[in-house]
């Protein structure tokens, strides 16, 4: 299962992808009739056939610019959460994909220097207490700053996505808080 932001991303294995990874390669249309398990078998197969069979819970994806361009199909974000990907780190994301990912509890980190990171490298993500700017720490100790994440989106990822967050809110209302 996905590691939310409150669980550490510590020496996570990197799967390195290129630029312009689109939704249709993450969640191929031919399998959209099915659930995330089936979509998961085919996730990224057109660009990295070793990803779906090899990815392990807690791994991270590091990609080039424009990750998640294309369709509104949120399965393109949900499938990575389903496969246990702890975060996607890229210089830029599709805006629509960005919303979908946080709604599904998948952490995205906008990191201008992400492409310096190498395949199979072990990286960590640090959230400094009191600071809203996360950073990626490379295996060689280099620190790559990331764009800040607004509090309400951090809360959403921490809750595991929008659905659990709405459930929490409705329980609070029902309990009279």
């Amino acid at each position: 299962m996905n590691q939310a932001m409150n669980q550490a991303i510590d020496k996570a294995r990197v799967w390195r992808l290129g630029a312009d990874i689109d939704t249709d390669v993450l969640a191929p249309g031919a399998f959209m009739k099915h659930g995330l398990e089936v979509i998961g078998w085919h996730c990224l197969e057109a660009v990295r056939a070793d990803f779906a069979p090899g990815v392990k819970a807690g791994d991270v994806i590091v990609a080039g610019p424009n990750f998640g361009i294309g369709s509104s199909r949120e399965q393109a974000a949900g499938v990575l959460h389903h496969l246990g990907v702890a975060a996607v780190i890229a210089p830029s994301f599709s805006g629509l994909y960005f919303r979908n990912a946080f709604n599904l509890g998948l952490l995205l980190l906008t990191c201008p220097r992400a492409t310096e990171i190498e395949e199979a490298e072990r990286i960590s993500v640090q959230f400094e207490p009191g600071a809203d700017t996360p950073a990626v720490v490379r295996a060689n100790g280099a620190r790559l700053p990331c764009a800040p994440i607004p509090d309400f989106l951090r809360d959403m990822v921490q809750a595991g996505g929008l659905l659990p967050l709405l459930q929490q809110q409705r329980r609070k209302v029902a309990d009279g808080h």
Partner: protein, 436 residues
């Protein structure tokens, strides 16, 4: 949200606002909004379809024990899995129809066309509205002066439960087109040119606004193509301020007068801060996006060696009435070349009926077209797609590797004029040569 806050439109303290800012401020119950701030907006209309809709929303609503906030503000369209190609698709369609009955949705459009085309056609959109759609081409609604953008199913759940959504107020990128398009050059060529220039994420999830003489001269059908493919530029919304053309069109779509009386008021203020990019429509040649990206754009003349096996006129982007007419203009009295299969999937049943009545469909059939159902068809890649090794010239919006068939399929995106001219000559062809 207090109405008193909305009325202070001409207060001297209000900074000049773009159209995007005005639409968002209205929905947020604010006098004005600042670029970059995050605001919560009331949703006037939520559209979803058979893929993003009930099959995903129903289990989540049940898990929450919640109901739809206002079913009169929801439009459900069955367009992705119809006609059902197999048992799995049939099941999705069945769940969608059963759920629509259970929720007593008053606005259901079933197998009568593609959501982005039938939504305005049935009078659901008007200038000033704030709308969301469960589909990435939802910016199409911007052609009618509405702020409309695409969201995923889980975010749609949030809208269905609360009637609200957050938005970060975007900057506005104004695409100003002077001059007039030459015959045989269309809105699709303008859009491919812009996607090629700015890239697939060049819109940076900001608001794009299309303006200038060349845009004003376009029909609503053509304006919809611009707003539709704002998605391929990575913009959140693709707006065109309403004018007389918009109002006359919406009257014909049955939008009542009381929803149109302030239509022309929805435009950006003089002096509102925006980034402006200038283009000359009169110098534009037909454009083609080569595999496998809508941003891989070249002038049509560079593609003359490409020999298509399939010419596809389809999708919300490229099979509206004007698109069918454009193809017919090129094909009238001719047959497509040997070795090319011409497929036409009109974007809506009503528009197809109009095209039948005026003889446009007959021209296409006589040229050799096979006419397919009024649905997303091969464009979405969810059902019937193209076979191994096909080379396709297509009026659709996306040519990602593997989207419309196996990875071996090569898809070239172009205008309906160019698709028709290429079908006629058996190689990618500048439609101006045929029309001359």
């Amino acid at each position: 949200m207090s109405p008193a806050h909305v009325s202070g439109g001409s207060a001297p303290s209000r900074p000049p606002q773009t159209l995007a800012q005005k639409l968002i401020a209205r929905a947020a119950g604010r006098d004005h909004v600042q670029v970059g701030e995050v605001v919560t907006c009331a949703v006037d209309l939520a559209m979803f379809h058979d893929s993003s809709g009930p099959r995903r929303l129903k289990p989540m609503l049940e898990a929450l024990g919640a109901e739809i906030w206002d079913r009169h503000k929801v439009v459900l369209v069955l367009d992705h899995y119809v006609p059902a190609q197999d048992a799995d698709a049939q099941q999705i369609v069945q769940i969608t129809r059963e759920t629509a009955r259970q929720w007593q949705l008053p606005h259901v459009i079933d197998s009568e066309g593609i959501c982005h085309v039938v939504l305005p056609e049935r009078g659901h959109l008007a200038p000033g509205m704030f709308c969301v759609g469960g589909d990435s081409h939802s910016p199409t609604g911007g052609a009618f002066g509405a702020y409309m953008f695409g969201i995923g199913a889980t975010e749609m759940l949030g809208v269905c439960v609360t009637g609200q959504i957050w938005v970060q107020v975007p900057r506005t990128l104004c695409m100003h087109w002077s001059g007039r398009l030459a015959p045989g050059v269309s809105a699709k060529d303008m859009m491919l040119h812009m996607v090629g220039r700015f890239g697939m994420n060049g819109g940076q999830y900001q608001a794009v606004e299309f303006a200038g003489e060349a845009v004003t001269a376009l029909s609503m059908s053509e304006r919809m193509t611009l707003s539709n493919m704002s998605a391929e530029m990575g913009a959140q919304a693709g707006l065109i301020a309403a004018d007389e053309t918009t109002v006359a069109h919406l009257h014909r779509c049955g939008v009542p007068e009381d929803r149109l009386h302030d239509a022309l008021h929805w435009r950006g203020d003089e002096g509102a801060a925006q980034e402006r990019f200038g283009f000359d429509a009169s110098g534009l040649s037909p454009q083609v996006a080569a595999p496998h990206s809508p941003a891989n754009v070249h002038p049509v003349g560079d593609m003359a060696e490409v020999v298509p096996t399939i010419a596809y006129i389809g999708a919300c982007t490229g099979a509206k009435l004007e698109d069918l007419r454009a193809a017919a203009t090129v094909l009238r009295g001719h047959k497509v070349a040997t070795g090319v299969q011409l497929l036409v999937a009109p974007a809506s049943a009503r528009e197809q009926a109009q095209a039948e009545q005026e003889g446009t469909m007959q021209v296409l059939r006589e040229a050799g077209a096979s006419v397919l159902g009024n649905s997303c068809g091969a464009c979405a890649g969810y059902g019937a797609t193209f076979g191994e090794g096909a080379t396709v010239i297509s009026s659709t919006a996306r040519n990602f590797k593997g989207r419309m068939g196996p990875a071996s399929v090569q898809v070239y995106l172009a205008s309906p004029y160019t698709v028709a001219a290429s079908a006629l000559r058996g190689r990618i062809t500048d439609p101006r040569e045929v029309l001359a």
